[in-house]
């Protein structure tokens, strides 16, 4: 493979990394409050600290609908939003918008599930000591759930690597785009193969790092 092609692969990898990095960041920014809200407004028996059944079921519906939406269609539907925010709907930066929005409900569920694992007795103790709801979330729930949260974020990143490759099919840039433009449209099986291998390696690295970090947090307890 020529240096030019290697450079191409390198640039595509960087694009994928930047897409995944920023969409993870933004999906956390959107999903974290949503997940905390889902948990906090849930039933008291499940640990809900401010039970609001109506709001909870509405939020839950929205999250479910967004999660079951096929990503490619969501992306096309969100083209106008990308154009509004970024000025274009094509390319790496523009793809971050639909990626973040697609991953946010997933993140919300993961956070909700992780918080539900926290011992309700510990939350009751924190309340009895006069913690505000905000203090319970920030100083009790999130630290207590941290090992699960780390695993959840690793899973989100892995999903986003997959989504970002798919986004390549409609002009998103990155390794998926490379695989389609060269591998599929120009019959360069070798480039396709390399792109796929790089994606697999990225997924594996995130998985291992996530597991290690989570295990290390648990071991310290």
């Amino acid at each position: 493979m020529s240096a030019k092609i290697l450079l191409l692969i390198w640039n595509s990898t960087l694009q994928t990394l930047s897409m995944v990095f920023f969409s993870t960041l933004f999906s956390l920014v959107l999903g974290l409050p949503l997940g905390v809200l889902l948990f906090a407004t849930g039933e008291e028996e499940q640990g809900g600290i401010i039970p609001m059944p109506l709001l909870n079921s509405v939020l839950s519906r929205i999250v479910n609908v967004l999660r079951s939406f096929p990503f490619i269609i969501l992306m096309i539907l969100l083209f106008p939003l990308s154009r509004l925010l970024i000025g274009t709907s094509i390319g790496t930066t523009a793809t971050i918008v639909p990626l973040s929005i697609a991953a946010a409900p997933f993140v919300a569920r993961i956070i909700e599930t992780a918080l539900k694992e926290v011992d309700p007795g510990v939350v009751q103790a924190a309340r009895a000591m006069g913690s505000t709801n905000f203090q319970i979330v920030r100083k009790v729930l999130i630290p207590e759930a941290m090992p699960s949260l780390v695993s959840g974020v690793a899973l989100t990143i892995i999903n986003l690597i997959g989504y970002s490759a798919m986004a390549g099919a409609i002009g998103g840039g990155g390794l998926g785009d490379l695989a389609i433009r060269y591998g599929y449209q120009r019959f360069r099986g070798d480039i396709m193969l390399v792109a796929v291998i790089v994606i697999l390696v990225l997924v594996e690295i995130v998985q291992i790092a996530g597991n290690r970090l989570s295990a290390r947090l648990l071991a310290r307890r």
């Binding site: 009751q124 309340r127 009790v140 630290p143 941290m146 310290r220 307890r221």
Partner: protein
């Protein structure tokens, strides 16, 4: 601080968990609340500790009514109330010292002040050297000590203990109870001790209320309740009590260093006979009875237990023991260092 409850009620659906409770808990003592499982103890303590609002009735701390506070007042009030639990409820993400620091952190205490206070509290509960220990590495008793230190961090007026010793073995229970008693005296606080163990009431409480089906069936000084129980529930609790347990034995004095200490156990019909006086008449050897009691074991067999000193020489003691055995008494020589 004195607590007064006026006709408190709390229902879950059609179940009246707390069904009209009026109590006056005086300040500066240990107040027991005993009741069977489901009697409404935890519900009552959640109402008094302001974790839940009653359906009806009032809670007063000294002269202040506290059951109808606003959200902000409630949070401020809770910060002056300590609470410990059966399952400790410590933060696993924090080490022992950080757990104790939590209540100080949430009221915005400066870092240096927190560190000093935490050290002082860990010292108080006997864990001065375990501050850095992760919670999972501590024993049950040590966890409860951390929980006690955490509950005392903000100098509360009241400490609630909901089954604080139920998850602990007898020795550990004893040491935690002693610690609580010591702290009560030192700090002059009011401790409300929720339990289903009469031993706990016997060992540390000054007054007790007996709860059944969401109501108070008996209330008074512990000595009165033990000497002349009125309700069936109280009598049942007393019948489960062990007459001679290790904790009280340690405090008993032996008559003389020459006399041997023995544990005598009687079964069934022998509990009715005046064996000891008969043997004394026959042999001229005296017994000093240090403790005793009769218990039903397994619901039907009566087992009497006596702890006695037998006066006299080795040989005389052996004679008496042999005679006791003839009467069907099980005799154990107590090993004393």
């Amino acid at each position: 601080m004195q607590i007064r409850l006026k006709d408190l009620k709390k229902s879950y659906g059609s179940l009246h968990a707390v069904n009209g409770i009026s109590l006056s808990i005086p300040s500066n003592l240990i107040y027991g609340i005993i009741g069977k499982s489901g009697a409404g103890k935890s519900t009552l303590v959640r109402l008094i500790s302001l974790l839940e609002k009653p359906d009806a009735g009032e809670v007063h701390f000294d002269e202040v009514r506290v059951d109808n506070l606003t959200k902000e007042e409630l949070i401020r009030r809770r910060r002056r109330v300590g609470m410990i639990f059966q399952n400790f409820n410590l933060f696993s993400s924090r080490n022992a010292a950080q757990n104790v620091a939590y209540p100080l952190e949430i009221i915005g205490t400066p870092k240096a002040e927190i560190a000093a206070r935490v050290a002082e509290l860990l010292e108080l509960v006997g864990l001065a050297d375990r501050g850095k220990a992760p919670i999972s590495t501590l024993s049950g008793g040590q966890k409860q000590r951390v929980a006690i230190a955490r509950a005392l961090a903000c100098n509360p007026d009241i400490l609630f203990c909901d089954e604080a010793t139920s998850a602990l073995d007898p020795q550990t229970t004893h040491s935690i109870l002693s610690l609580l008693k010591e702290i009560q005296r030192k700090m002059g606080l009011t401790i409300v001790m929720i339990t289903h163990q009469m031993e706990v009431v016997r060992d540390v409480c000054d007054r007790v209320a007996v709860l059944d089906d969401g109501r108070v069936v008996e209330e008074g000084p512990v000595t009165d309740i033990f000497a002349k129980p009125k309700s069936d529930v109280t009598k049942e609790f007393l019948s489960h009590l062990v007459g001679t347990d290790a904790s009280s034995e340690e405090q008993m004095v032996q008559w003389s260093s020459k006399s041997g200490a023995y544990i005598l156990r009687f079964r069934g019909e022998t509990t009715d006979q005046p064996i000891l006086s008969q043997i004394t008449r026959e042999t001229g050897i005296d017994f000093n009875i240090r403790a005793g009691g009769v218990q039903k074991v397994g619901g039907e067999v009566e087992i009497g237990t006596l702890i006695v000193d037998i006066q006299g020489s080795e040989e005389e003691q052996e004679n008496v023991v042999a005679r006791l055995r003839e009467f069907g008494v099980h005799v154990e020589k107590e090993e004393r260092p």
